[in-house]
């Protein structure tokens, strides 16, 4: 399927480049519907991979790339279940999103995230599976999960450790602070900065260059450069599920779900 227009995202393949556009109000929160559509996207890899050089992931939402997991849906789903069922439901969701993100991470073509605005939590975890992050100079990156008594659950810690020094990983996780794009580039999280509103254009320009290279060598280089930290990813799911059982987490999620602010855990 070379093009798709879903409820939370769409993709379009053209001349070796597939563009995946996240488009769910208000800020591309990743819930069950977006997960299902992402699963449909990665299922196309078997047929598209051979004729695809580059995949660009971007957002059509004005506030940014993605605010992360749909915490309101997570709370409402969990609140309707008892303890063991809550954890089982969360684990199933995490395993499904890990399967999707591992597939994007391991794709034989080059993947780029073209980021503007907020790129938080699960949104940052989606960007981190990409080979290259191009950021609009107004972009911001954060893992705010500890504010809710949780850790990132979509593979964020192992993948952040893969790309950055452990000291900075601890800083970002333990303070929950957000980095601006210039700082994110300075520390190596972002590889290219773009002017305001230009991230997608810059990514497309990169794609035009990347397409010139030999596909076999490109895939081999990528596999060599970017091993997937499978063992740590599995441990992260276990730790997330363990933390999720604590009453403080449900209380924090309840507070989040009941807030009318766009991003209640931000200042």
């Amino acid at each position: 399927m070379k093009s798709f227009d879903g409820k939370t995202l769409r993709w379009d393949w053209n001349d070796g480049v597939v563009e995946l556009t996240l488009d769910r109000e208000p800020a591309n929160e990743i819930g069950t519907l977006m997960l299902a559509e992402l699963e449909a996207f990665v299922r196309t890899f078997d047929t598209l991979a051979e004729e695809t050089s580059v995949c660009i992931i971007s957002s059509a939402q004005k506030h940014g790339f993605s605010a992360g997991a749909d915490l309101r849906e997570l709370y409402e789903g969990a609140a309707a279940l008892n303890g063991p069922e809550q954890v089982a439901g969360v684990r199933t969701f995490l395993q499904r999103i890990h399967t999707v993100l591992n597939a994007i991470d391991a794709a034989p073509f080059v993947t780029m995230a073209a980021v503007h605005g907020i790129c938080f939590g699960g949104g940052l975890e989606l960007a981190l599976v990409c080979d290259i992050i191009v950021a609009d100079k107004m972009a911001r990156f954060a893992f705010p999960e500890l504010r809710l008594g949780l850790i990132p659950g979509f593979g964020g810690i192992p993948r952040l450790k893969r790309d950055l020094g452990n000291a900075l990983v601890r800083d970002l996780l333990l303070t929950g602070r957000s980095l601006n794009a210039a700082r994110a580039q300075a520390v190596g999280l972002v590889s290219q900065l773009a002017g305001e509103g230009e991230a997608l254009n810059v990514a497309r320009s990169n794609a035009a260059q990347i397409k010139k290279f030999d596909a076999f060598t490109r895939a081999a280089a990528k596999k060599f450069l970017k091993p997937i930290p499978h063992a740590e990813l599995l441990k992260e799911i276990d730790l997330f599920c363990e933390l999720f059982t604590r009453p403080a987490v449900m209380a924090a999620l309840k507070k989040f779900a009941e807030s009318t602010d766009a991003m209640p855990y931000l200042p």
Partner: protein, 80 residues
């Protein structure tokens, strides 16, 4: 080195430009959430704008609870 008054004025000017309001409609002691009618996402946009303009990093937690331009400017001043 800027004075805190200069920093405050630059913060007011940047906020006015970013949110498309008249510069003289904003005052240092205004609650910017109320005055501009913005939410926390838009406040983050302002934070990015300020960090880029002043060439500083201002951690989110340093502006947590800050809602007036004067206090925001003083937090920026301490990082210049």
């Amino acid at each position: 080195m800027r004075t805190v008054e200069q920093t405050t004025q630059e913060v007011l000017d940047l906020a006015a430009t970013h949110f498309h309001v008249a510069a003289d409609s904003l005052n240092a002691d205004d609650d910017f959430f109320r005055k501009l009618g913005i939410n926390s996402l838009q406040a983050l946009e302002l934070l990015s704008r300020l960090e880029n303009h002043f060439g500083i990093e201002l951690p989110d937690y340093e502006v947590q609870g800050v809602s007036d331009f004067r206090t925001l400017a003083s937090r920026i001043q301490s990082r210049l």
